[in-house]
Amino acid sequence: MFFWIVQRDLLLAMRRRSDVLTTLFFFVIVVSLFPLSVGPEMNMLRMMAPGVVWVAALLASMLSLGRLFSNDYLDGTLEQMLLSSQSLSILVLGKALAHWLVTGVPLVLMAPVLGIQYDLPVDALFVLTTSLLLGTPVLSLIGAIGAALTLGLRGGGVLVSLLVLPLYIPVLIFGAGSVEADMAGLDYDAHLSLLGAFLLVSIVFAPWAAASSLRVSME
């Protein structure tokens, strides 16, 4: 069931490839806007890079949350999934994984390129990519709760940002913090370990919370 959901969502995403690319280009454009607004001094850009890339990743991941459940909700598939005898939490976990594969992984792959734009040293690029690799699944999982709660509401897109962004803060702090620690010559293991801890906790709890949110929204 789990793999079936992942496979199905990936297939649907591949049928509509422009959606995936929109998120990715949003990420690239937001990151590229910063040098234009604050000026091209390399020293400052290098200092800002981790924060800018992470905030852009947060926004990009959040903007694509609407697609997580809404298409299935509109064509009635979601109702059938709720009626099925399978565990809804597993199903939500599958959908979150598919969401991460479609939106998170491209961001992770694109991040080193954007880091080069900001003149990050090579080992910082490595830390940036690793932190995004650990952090973006957490964004998809927490975002699933917000997406489930705002399902079918008017103005849901803006509302989901109010709900989800405050909850993203710890991920942002340690994600950007790991790269900054590395550039300051400090140890970044602790940051990455904490990101890993967030990932494990959210794998356990977020699908469950999102599943009950879906039940609330669909009744």
């Binding site: 709660l149 109010l162 405050p166 803060i169 340690f174």
Partner: protein, 247 residues
């Protein structure tokens, strides 16, 4: 004497109970407020480091404490409402949110007013200020989610889930902000007060905390009465009240 507590889980009977409790808490809040402000402004000595400006503590600390306390109480009521499907508990949670957000805002506002004479700046990205700001965001998220949902039962449950997710996240957010702050080597100023405080200052502050608490109870009961009336307007007991001219 055994009191049937479940009786007051019904909005109809709680409505009249709340009506009788409001004057009690309102008078208590007013009395404590007058006493607390008197101690704060006339009895408590001038601080030798901070001068007169420290007196904002009598508003600031109660507001900050209440803002955090009310979020936990709100999540508690919301959780009870979600678990036992009791309508009144969810109404309590909805009624608490605006008061909690108000106290959070007051804490931030007075904090920045205090910061200006003490540290020479309105705002520092100190761990406590930052987490208080995030608390305000959480309150706003809760209220806007409930406002966006038309069906009150769905609004209750959705709000309960986000409140509970928030309450689990608060310690995580608090510690991550604290570590973030120390990692950044922080601003050179700290909010931490001198550990010793004149006992009259402490008395004044505690009296003000109780005043804020009683005020919160009175206002929340008032608001929950309005919410009960709004939700129950089609029921027989409300129209009965209306006929008697008791609304």
């Amino acid at each position: 004497m055994a009191i049937n507590w479940y009786k007051y889980a019904s909005p109809a009977s709680f409505y009249s109970l709340a009506g009788r409790m409001i004057p009690f808490f309102a008078i208590l809040a007013f009395g404590l407020l007058v006493a607390g402000l008197y101690i704060g402004f006339f009895v408590a000595p001038t601080d030798f480091q901070q001068g007169e400006a420290y007196r904002i503590i009598f508003i600031h600390v109660p507001a900050a404490w209440m803002s955090m306390f009310l979020y936990v109480v709100m999540a508690l009521w919301a959780g009870i409402g979600l678990a036992f499907n009791t309508r009144l508990s969810s109404m309590m949670a909805t009624a608490i949110a605006p008061t909690g957000a108000m106290f959070t805002f007051v804490a931030l506002w007075t904090g920045s007013l205090w910061g200006k004479p003490m540290w020479g700046t309105w705002w520092v990205w100190d761990a406590r200020l930052t987490s208080e700001l995030i608390l305000l965001f959480l309150y706003i998220g809760f209220m806007s989610l409930q406002a966006a949902i038309d069906d009150p039962r769905r609004a209750d449950k959705a709000g309960a889930i986000i409140a509970l997710v928030g309450v689990i996240n608060i310690p995580i957010i608090y510690f991550s902000v604290q570590w973030w702050n120390t990692l950044h080597q922080g601003a050179s100023v700290s909010v931490t007060q001198a550990p010793t405080m004149a006992s009259t200052m402490l008395t004044g502050m505690m009296v003000m905390v109780f005043a804020a608490w009683m005020y919160a109870i009175a206002v929340i009961l008032k608001r929950v009465r309005v919410i009960i009336l709004e939700r129950e307007r089609h029921t027989a007991w409300v129209s009965e009240l209306n006929e008697r001219g008791a609304l």
